[in-house]
């Protein structure tokens, strides 16, 4: 059962820590802020990759975390991270309450050669996201829209409430404007107010609907979210008949 993907993102010989300047901060949801970083020396990245951040206290104590990149690979020399506020966290409260435009943060990256997608990898592509698991998939969708809008793609997106759907308006706009992209958004803890957004957990019917929107079975499926979500979604994808080796997963949290 070889599970070797067709593409392994190129890896540097050595990943060095370097300073990156925060050049923009925008609020995306009540609990998510988007930070734009400009590293001193940025080699670019592949959609789906992440970076490590390192914060240092005056006495030398350090905390590290990994965050996925949300922006499309481009020539700006910057990347966006979406940072979800975790109430009892150590790093995310710093970003939400302390960090400002102009601050310098140590980063290294890009990292990750498996959960990645390039236009050359082709499609169709099925994306399944729970909550902030959308972040690396958003980089793929934005890359696709710029580089290969003819590649069919479907996004199944689950969040607790509409207000917690990161990039809700952008995704609804893409669903309207991009003929080969279809959005299947659902919220679990409230009745949605926006037409087209569903209510309830992802299930076999939602997977079937997304698959039916694609002209052929997906070449690759990317699933990202909290551990229980990814487990359930991967089982649904297997039950829908998608080949084991075509499903890539990224999990976070406990």
């Amino acid at each position: 059962m070889p599970n070797v993907p067709p593409f392994v993102a190129p890896q540097p010989d050595r990943l060095l820590w370097q300073p990156a300047t925060i050049t923009a901060i925008t609020r995306a949801t009540p609990r998510v802020k988007i930070f734009t970083f400009r590293p001193a020396d940025w080699p670019g990245f592949t959609a789906g990759q992440h970076v490590d951040l390192r914060l240092t206290a005056p006495d030398g104590y350090q905390a590290e975390r990994s965050y996925s990149i949300a922006s499309a690979p481009d020539a700006t020399g910057t990347f966006d991270l979406a940072i979800d506020l975790i109430d009892d966290g150590e790093v995310s409260p710093f970003f939400h309450e302390v960090a400002e435009i102009g601050d310098t943060i140590e980063i290294r990256g890009p990292i990750g050669g498996h959960f990645v997608w390039r236009a050359e990898d082709g499609g169709p592509v099925l994306l399944i996201a729970g909550g902030s698991g959308l972040v690396p998939l958003m980089a793929m969708l934005r890359h696709r829209a710029e580089a290969a809008p003819d590649i069919p793609a479907a996004l199944i997106l689950s969040a607790r409430t509409e207000d917690e759907l990161i990039w809700r308006d952008e995704l609804l706009q893409r669903d309207r404007d991009e003929p080969h992209f279809h959005l299947f958004a659902t919220v679990t803890r409230e009745t949605p107010r926006t037409p087209g957004i569903r209510h309830g957990r992802i299930d076999a019917a939602l997977i079937e609907a997304a698959l039916a929107s694609l002209p052929a079975p997906p070449r690759t499926s990317f699933i990202c979210g909290a551990t229980p979500f990814v487990g359930a979604a991967a089982d649904l994808a297997l039950s829908a008949g998608l080949p084991f080796a075509s499903i890539k997963a990224e999990r976070y949290g406990g």
Binding site: M1, P12, D13, Y61, E64, K248
Partner: protein, 201 residues
């Protein structure tokens, strides 16, 4: 370089000295893998030891469970930055597997293979002398499928991606051949105390 306005939340005494650099303590047991959880059938499960391409020993699940059992309670460290203390495992040490196979470790490098196609390379010295096992139980219960059951490699002193889930074989190799994550930029050894996360660390 201090980060403006960051003070951090230091782990307390008794914890801080057990946390490798860049790690934080979690009470959860996060699940990490590159794809779905494979469905492994115990009726057809086999664990095979190979010297290069040559199989030298193989066990069914029932046979494997007859091998001498050992308990290991260790701290574990994931490259995604979480550490978990006092995880209690039981299984068969690599020493006992080699003894049952009737061989000494034939080469300095080992590739672990798994049912999902995953592989990871581990220096043989990091597997022997009681340092590693093929674990079948966690906290007294069979390891759940999402944590690598029915059997996973356990190399607790290295980053946890080396502890391959759904393991089905060890292959001794003459060269240090990169496994799944090692091909994708992760370190060939992965010692958390030396923060060997990525190539070149």
């Amino acid at each position: 370089m201090a980060t403006r306005g960051f003070t951090g939340r230091r782990p307390t005494d008794g914890i801080v000295e057990r946390l490798p650099p860049g790690q934080y303590l979690t009470e959860d047991f996060p699940v990490l893998s590159a794809g779905p959880t494979p469905r492994v059938d115990l009726a057809t499960w086999r664990f095979t030891v190979k010297d290069g391409v040559r199989p030298v020993a193989s066990w069914s699940f029932d046979e494997f469970n007859q091998l001498p059992r050992t308990k290991l309670t260790r701290d574990i460290h994931c490259v995604t930055k979480w550490s978990k203390f006092n995880t209690a495992w039981s299984g068969v040490t690599i020493d006992d597997i080699l003894a049952e196979a009737g061989i000494a470790a034939p080469s300095p490098f080992t590739l672990a293979h798994a049912y999902d196609g995953y592989s990871t390379n581990v220096p043989t010295d990091d597997l022997t002398n009681g340092k590693a096992m093929i674990a079948t139980h966690f906290e007294g219960q069979p390891i759940p499928p999402n944590h690598g059951g029915p059997a996973r490699l356990l190399v607790p002193h290295l980053y946890f991606w080396k502890s391959a889930k759904w393991v089905n074989g060890l292959q001794f190799t003459n060269r240090d051949e990169a496994g799944f994550w090692e091909l994708r930029g992760y370190h060939m050894r992965g010692d958390p105390w030396q923060e060997q996360r990525f190539t070149g660390d």
